[in-house]
């Protein structure tokens, strides 16, 4: 008996015939052909053997987290607005996607005005339920001061004034991730991060080591040997002879296989880095440091025991704890910026049962907190990603909100910029252009412009032909202001092949360095340094 499909057509269908996933019509055709074809019958035997063997050899995954705890972790995540957490900007950067987890399709939303503001001391904040005590265990051990290298500055800087961008060089070791950068003068600066062993076990703390770069004589290069099991997360230089660095000593794997770190501080004074003994709480998800001067500094340790964030204030003699409002204690803090003795914070509340995580802005001044909580409907929450205080003292909040697809691609929801500027009493939302063709949008920093406006810097992921977000990111910029009525417009980012412009440190109103990420052909991201000069960018050669 013969059938009307060929051996070739039959064999093409046989894997699915054996797997029993053919349509009835295809199945009938295959069976008719098989009845008269011994060769194809042998082919069926082959695929059966393959299917059965595959079943037998496919490994049963080991469980890293009990089901109930896995579900609680999911609950935590869905409670958070899609924001790049502080942790992702610190040592966890390699292990987390740069983009948010938000995926594929989102309900359309239009931005709504800020609903209300609240003010007063921390005690007047509405209570937000504590995160269930499931996230972190065993973080009691603190080892501040007992480890950490005594870093010695090898030589005094011989200042080289007037480096041209083409003369600048960045000797960044292989497999390095830069997390923070700080310029203390046009010719002197530091950057910190980590070096990860290639093919290293990500659950092994020793697979990561510290990285400290120093910029002198037009060259960025390593200033100290890498210390295994230690990462440097944030750095601020107040002057060439005074600076602070915060790092984490990794330990784990712990609950769920995650690596945690205990926070330590180092002070650069007298030409050397030395560990400072202090009673700061551990920050398992990283730590962040910002200062407005030698006697005004702020340290945030993120996600310590029970996901609690802690804030410390340096006023010249000690790091003293400042009580965070409850919502900031438990939420994710996306940025902090000091200004004239005050501190600004942005983040998102974490409360599973009340409001599913609202974007939040806070100002701490005169020992009082004032906060603004943004109120939007489900699926419409903006995510706040970066804070910028311009030279005139205006506070800018950079973020994004989920929006419907564009006219040319209505099926693909996308992010649009969500830009706020503080008017001294409340926040104005700045209108932005709506031609964005990307599905994910992320702002990381901003640079003042001579006219009083800013250029917001970040990255976006484009949408491919089949409507799916690309895995790659492309750097972009948005020109805002100088007045609110002018709004913001996208403008091309002048450097090609840059995936993300991360932290920027300016050493003058118009010049500075930025940590940038470039994506290789294989999709791996590499930290590099770029020089900014009045609107032009130069990627430093290595």
């Amino acid at each position: 008996m013969t059938s009307n499909i060929s051996c070739a057509s039959c064999r093409e269908l046989l894997p699915w015939y054996v797997a029993e996933t053919l349509t009835p019509a295809d199945r009938t055709a295959v069976e008719a052909h098989l009845a008269g074809c011994a060769d194809c019958q042998r082919e069926v035997a082959f695929w059966r053997a393959v299917g059965e063997t595959l079943e037998a050899v496919t490994p049963e995954p080991s469980v890293s987290l009990p089901e109930a705890e896995s579900w609680r972790a999911i609950q935590r995540k869905i409670a958070l607005a899609p924001i790049l957490p502080l942790a992702a900007r610190n040592h966890a950067k390699k292990e987390r996607p740069l983009m948010s987890e938000r995926e594929l399709n989102l309900p359309p939303a239009e931005p709504a005005p800020i609903k209300s503001s609240s003010s007063g001391s921390a005690q007047r904040w509405p209570y937000v339920a504590l995160v269930a005590a499931v996230i972190i265990i065993g973080l009691a051990a603190t080892i501040f001061g007992v480890f950490g290298p005594q870093l010695r500055q090898v030589h005094n800087a011989k200042r080289a004034a007037g480096c041209t961008p083409s003369a600048m060089q960045a000797n960044i070791p292989a497999n390095a991730t830069l997390d923070d950068i700080s310029l203390d003068s046009p010719t002197d600066g530091w950057a910190v991060g980590e070096i990860t062993k290639p093919h290293g076990n990500t659950a092994d703390p020793a697979s990561s080591g510290s990285l400290l770069l120093h910029y002198q004589n037009c060259v960025w290069k390593e200033a100290a040997p890498s210390v295994p099991g230690v990462v440097y997360q944030s750095i601020v230089m107040n002057s060439p002879s005074d600076g602070w660095l915060v790092g984490g000593k990794l330990f784990g794997p712990n609950f769920g296989g995650f690596i945690y770190s205990s926070t330590f501080l180092m002070h650069y004074t007298g030409g050397r880095w030395q560990t400072v003994k202090t009673k700061i709480d551990t920050g398992s998800q990283g730590a962040y440091l910002r200062m407005s001067g030698p006697t005004d500094g702020w340290l945030l340790t993120a996600g310590g025991a029970f996901w609690m964030n802690e804030l410390y204030h340096w006023q010249g003699s000690a790091w003293n704890k400042v009580t965070l409002p409850h919502a900031f204690q438990n939420g994710q803090i996306g940025g902090l910026a000091p200004s004239d003795g005050a501190l600004w914070l942005i983040g998102v509340t974490y409360d599973n049962h009340v409001d599913n995580g609202s974007p939040l802005i806070g100002e701490y001044a005169n020992e009082q907190w004032q906060t603004w909580e943004l109120s939007y409907g489900p699926g419409q929450m903006p995510a706040l990603a970066a804070l910028h205080i311009d030279a005139a003292g205006h506070v800018w909040v950079l973020g994004r909100y989920p929006a419907p697809g564009s006219d040319s691609n209505p099926q693909q929801p996308r992010d649009l910029p969500y830009i706020l500027r503080y008017n001294g009493i409340n926040f104005d939302q700045i209108a932005t252009s709506t031609t964005a063709p990307h599905s994910e949008l992320l702002f990381t920093a901003a640079i003042d412009q001579p006219d009083g406006g800013i250029v917001a810097i970040g990255a976006a992921s484009p949408v491919n032909a089949s409507g799916m977000p690309e895995t790659q990111l492309n750097a972009l910029s948005l020109r805002c202001g100088p007045t609110a009525s002018i709004g913001c417009q996208f403008q091309p980012f002048p450097l090609h092949n840059i995936s993300l412009v991360d932290t920027i440190s300016m050493d003058s109103p118009t010049q500075g360095f930025a940590i940038v990420l470039t994506m290789g052909q294989n999709g791996d991201l590499t930290s590099s340094l770029a020089y900014y000069d009045a609107g032009s960018w130069t990627l430093l050669r290595s």
């Binding site: 797997a19 082959f46 496919t58 890293s64 609950q75 987890e101 594929l104 929801p413 089949s466 791996d524």
Partner: protein, 195 residues
């Protein structure tokens, strides 16, 4: 099952956490199994990715277009997340695989060698499966282990159906090569790599 899945997804889109939990219970195990190999048995990364699949479902359920089965969508998201998580490993992806090149689907019917003897030895077959390149192995797993149709595999892998069939065909050739039963030469030599 699919109608149940759709009903669950509708509830998820309406903000019903319990529905998401049911979906999680239903598909956590197969997703973990799929991601286990995709993420090289890194239990932490697998757990993180599985969680993120359902976070993505939570955030995207309202926009689910229904042009693929719910389970296909879940695997599509899982693969996307796995690719992102593996970005740093991609350059080493070919280290342990056979060096067969994909051709186009017109070359699917080239093998005429005898192979009865080889398939008898399941141990050898297990070894041959271990030597398959990741993408060939992934295609076979999606077909046989997870039971997806050719169209569904194509959707998950974001590739044309013809390429899926081509990958399965080349997986077969690679298996036979590894088993020692060298097949007859293809009708025309494969040129270049096709994704």
């Amino acid at each position: 099952m699919e109608s149940d899945d759709l009903a669950l997804l509708e509830r998820v889109a309406a903000g019903d956490e319990e529905a998401l939990r049911e979906l999680t219970e239903r598909y956590r195990a197969p997703l973990r199994r799929y991601l286990w190999r995709q993420l090289r048995g890194d239990a932490r990364a697998v757990e993180e990715a599985v969680q993120d699949v359902f976070v993505a479902v939570w955030r995207g359920a309202a926009g689910y277009r229904g042009d693929a089965k719910v389970v296909t969508w879940l695997f599509q998201i899982a693969r996307y997340l796995a690719l992102r998580a593996r970005r740093k490993e991609l350059r080493h992806a070919g280290d342990v695989s056979l060096t067969l090149e994909d051709g186009d689907e017109r070359q699917a019917d080239w093998l005429s060698a005898s192979y009865e003897d080889e398939v008898v030895d399941r141990l050898a077959l297990a070894g041959a499966l271990e030597q398959l390149s990741e993408k060939h192995r992934e295609a076979l797993e999606l077909v046989f282990f997870f039971g997806f149709s050719a169209d569904e595999v194509a959707r998950i892998l974001e590739t044309p159906v013809g390429t899926v069939k081509s990958r399965v065909s080349y997986a077969r050739r690679a298996l036979l090569l590894a088993l020692g039963g060298a097949p007859a030469k293809p009708a025309k030599p494969a040129k270049g790599r096709q994704s």
